[in-house]
Symmetry: C2
Subunit: 235 residues, 2 copies
């Protein structure tokens, strides 16, 4: 028993500094795409998963920068926090800091469509229907993966409501990522506005399905995988 | 000087109980209209103005019920708080409580358009544009004003970006309201995500433009007008 406790302490000590050489760039929260000065399109996101990753990475010795949209979760402590509004702004903030990063984790719920034109004045309500033309926003994750320097590890999330792992593996391959954290947001205890999550970690070499756990525990498991992939990359 | 202080204390004492016979029903925050399980349309709103009204009304002796959508401001203390998501849900919650109310203050930023159809599964991103068909949401304020019992005072807000008082007076007459609180949300220090507001109180008998003040002060000025209109109605 003493040996087990000693091993656990040792392991947590090793974990505690295993990211000391990393500079982790994390996106968190939801972007807002304005329709007019009052209305916007957004995604459900508390920012909790991204903030948990930031705190976990800092605790393990990494330098951490968070680019955050709209969040409701308490802000992380001891990390650089940059606020942005739209997907466009988030992309710009990420690219600016990318040269210094060694790992990029895209935990934000980025609106992937935005109004094709933003109205400068509030649209007046009429009784009639209204057609809103939407265009795709820039794909932050794909842009980063395409421009990445050799030592950058890129981690994405896939929030899905059906065929979750299949969509996640497709995303991994299509965008050239190192890890995709897949979660079925239709499950109870997973995803938005929740303290917990149920995820599958999809890498090029396999899949690891995790049980229901807190977002802080999920964060550590993701960072365990980042540390493992770093070792693999070093050979 | 002593007389002035005494008068002020007296006035605040009178104010303190001047709504003791009122049951004030207040809406606050932003509604969310779902596009699919992940995306939604919403409005900018912290809920701060509605919550300030709730606290001010309670302090002046009223019984208070708040129907709130999404908010970021701290919740009010000592009042009944009901949470809802969409405009449809907010309307239902309001109508349920309307028979007991003596004043209705619509401080929520209700989404006035919603997707004509909600997708049960997350819409997959493609490179192409997307057309979103929007339909008007039920008009909570107009519905309440149309169904109001004789002694109900109805107060609306008009957040505008141009010709503010004109739009407010039009709203007052068109919907049959007792008071419209008009604010130009394009002004600095007014509207969303702000601790302060700059408003004009538009009633059937006139207009009162207030300078920049805290939302709590604005709340009291609105309630002063409610108390005045109540006296007028009693004759």
């Amino acid at each position: 028993r003493i040996v087990r406790i000693a091993l656990e302490i040792l392991e947590s000590e090793i974990r505690a500094r295993d990211l000391a050489r990393e500079h982790v760039l994390i996106t968190a929260g939801a972007t807002r795409e304005e329709i007019d000065p009052v209305r916007f399109i957004s995604n459900r996101s508390s920012g909790r998963m991204g903030f948990a990753l930031a705190e976990a990475a800092r605790a393990r010795g990494a330098q951490v920068t968070v680019i955050a949209g709209m969040t409701t979760a308490p802000e992380p402590y001891g990390v650089e926090l940059v606020r942005v509004c739209s997907a466009e702004e988030m992309l710009r903030a990420v690219l600016e800091r990318l040269p210094h990063a060694t790992a990029f984790i895209a935990a934000a719920a980025v609106a992937d469509y935005r109004p094709a034109t933003r109205q400068a004045q509030k649209i007046k309500k009429t009784g009639a229907r209204l057609t809103l033309e939407l265009e795709p926003t820039p794909d932050i994750l794909a842009t980063v993966a395409a421009r990445k320097h050799e030592s950058l590890l890129v981690v994405g999330f896939a929030a899905e409501t059906e065929r979750v792992v299949e969509h996640a593996r497709d995303k991994l391959e299509r965008k050239g990522l190192d890890l995709v954290v897949a979660n079925d947001v239709s499950q109870k205890g997973a995803g938005f506005d929740s303290e917990t999550n149920i995820v599958t970690l999809v890498t090029r070499d396999g899949e690891e399905s995790l049980p229901l756990m807190t977002k802080s525990e999920v964060a550590h498991r993701i960072l365990d995988t980042v540390a493992r992939l770093r070792k693999l990359a070093r050979g």
